[in-house]
């Protein structure tokens, strides 16, 4: 039993890595543009479909399909900024939320019209690794390592480049950053493109793990949102830590109970933390 729990904890950490990557994009967009991207999980869903179509129907190699998906999701991010977020930047919060929530309906029904309600996946079998007494899914390990590398590259991008510096500064003071000679509108576009590309990357790592259906995204939007709020909105380190907390909690409690109850436990922990620390574990702060 103890070994089983430990095994579940390891799997939870692996899951946490990918969740951290997913939450990172949502957090970055919130931190910089001060908007909650309600349709974030739906981006991942579209990315998965795109990889499916390019691989199974256009017969492109999987890696190439994934790269195209990352690029396409970045463009979708740009379009979201241009057509939805940009025009509503000065609008009341509620309007912004409703518009982005509207995108959920657009994307999910679009997927339903094009691909129907079937579950679709690419038959891809990565081995299950046996390390000591522990069993680890190769696809999860691959996704975990990929997510960590991506997060490392993002860290370098934010901390070592001028654009990254402009993004961090914009997150801290949207008005003053203009006085530094930064075109804040370009920063928003770059942020949305980066956030979009991240959903493409997450979709690529999800491809060997999940099958996709039109409502695939909603649970991941909620999951990412919970992680972001739990860590402290806009706090990238907080999001990173809470992704692993949520990953391990859901994974371990799934072994002890069932997957449904595991979600309830994760949400209960979330609610408890919110009651005690409404600002999140590490509090809100700049990037």
């Amino acid at each position: 039993m103890f070994e089983q729990i430990l095994n579940a904890a390891i799997n939870g950490i692996l899951l946490g890595g990918v969740l951290a990557l997913l939450a990172f994009g949502l957090n970055l967009i919130f931190g910089v543009v001060k908007i909650i991207h309600m349709a974030y999980g739906q981006f991942v869903m579209l990315g998965l479909y795109l990889i499916y179509v390019l691989t199974m129907q256009v017969h492109l190699p999987l890696v190439l399909s994934a790269l195209i998906a990352v690029f396409a999701m970045a463009i979708l991010g740009l379009l979201t900024q241009l057509l939805v977020i940009g025009p509503l930047l000065e609008a009341p919060r509620l309007n912004q939320l409703l518009a982005l929530a509207g995108l959920i309906i657009v994307f999910e029904n679009l997927a339903m019209v094009i691909w129907g309600a079937d579950y679709r996946g690419i038959p891809l079998y990565l081995p299950i690794l046996k390390i000591g007494n522990f069993f680890i899914r190769g696809s999860c390990l691959f996704a975990f390592l990929g997510a960590l590398i991506t997060l490392g590259l993002l860290y370098l991008f934010l901390n070592k480049t001028y654009i990254g510096l402009a993004i961090r500064a914009t997150a801290q003071d949207t008005e003053i950053v203009k006085l530094m000679g930064v075109n804040s509108r370009s920063v928003y576009f770059i942020t949305l493109a980066a956030g979009g590309a991240l959903t493409g990357i997450v979709a690529a790592f999800f491809t060997p793990i999940y099958t996709v259906h039109p409502h695939f995204g909603s649970s991941f939007t909620i999951m990412a949102f919970i992680i972001v709020v739990l860590g402290g909105m806009g706090n990238l380190l907080g999001g990173f830590i809470s992704a692993f907390i949520i990953g391990v909690v859901t994974s371990v409690s799934a072994v002890l109970t069932t997957t449904e109850i595991a979600d309830i436990i994760a949400l209960l922990i979330f609610i408890l933390v919110m009651l005690v620390r409404p600002q999140g574990l590490l509090g809100t702060r700049g990037i």
Partner: protein, 234 residues
């Protein structure tokens, strides 16, 4: 260098500036004094493009700038030190200076500008790895001024640099301004603390309720009986 012609500005329905005209000549230090709510901050916001004027024109080096965006105006050579400094608290001192030099031309001269800044304000060199949010009040204002110089401006605008500071630190901040004045920068400073500000001025303007009430050389200005009584307390 800077020519403002009949600028009016409003926040929504609320008019804050009424047909203000003023100018700053190259190498000159101009001071705008006036009570709280006179529109001094708004004036600087309009010049830097953060607020669009509803009427009037602004020229900088002969080029019209009142329809340009803030980041373009910065590139042309106008920088603003906002009230309270408004540093990026979670960036290091060095990163604050780096972001100050964001525009392409300033980036190319970053090393040179940094050496100059560290020469002018040596404490910042010792503190460069520290987060800006952890600096003391006077150091923050110093960094805010330094950051604004990193864009290689021709005109530096300062919004109430002494506000909220203890008298001793206030004196130091005016000393910083004197230091950058001696470097040959043109300066437009708005201040409530008229007496200290006027010591630095070549030219001064009095703003009251969004209207320009008086302007003149610093000496005429301090001799004006109304200003003497209302703003200098003599």
């Amino acid at each position: 260098m800077l020519e403002i012609e009949g600028i009016s500005a409003a926040y929504g329905e609320f008019r804050v500036l009424h047909e203000i005209s003023l100018g700053v000549r190259s190498g000159e230090t101009a001071i705008a004094v006036g009570p709280n709510g006179a529109g001094k901050t708004t004036l600087l916001k309009v010049i830097s493009g953060l607020l669009r004027p509803s009427l009037g024109k602004i020229y900088f080096d002969g080029q019209r700038i009142d329809d340009q965006e803030t980041h373009e105006i910065v590139k042309l050579g106008i920088s603003l030190v906002p009230e309270g400094g408004r540093l990026f608290p979670y960036l290091t001192v060095l990163d604050n200076l780096k972001i100050g030099a964001f525009s392409k031309k300033a980036r190319e001269e970053f090393r040179k500008a940094l050496d100059e800044i560290f020469g002018l304000f040596p404490i910042l060199k010792d503190r460069k790895k520290q987060l800006a949010g952890s600096l003391s009040g006077g150091e923050r204002q110093m960094l805010a001024i330094a950051r604004s110089l990193m864009s290689r401006p021709k005109l530096v605008m300062l919004d109430e640099p002494s506000s909220g500071l203890a008298p001793k630190i206030m004196a130091r901040v005016f000393e910083f301004v004197r230091r950058i004045k001696s470097q040959g920068y043109s300066i437009l400073m708005v201040e409530q603390n008229a007496r200290k500000a006027l010591e630095l001025a070549d030219h001064a303007y009095l703003l009251e309720s969004g209207r320009l009430q008086f302007h003149g050389g610093a000496e005429d200005f301090v001799k004006n009986p109304y200003i003497k009584k209302a703003y200098l307390g003599i």
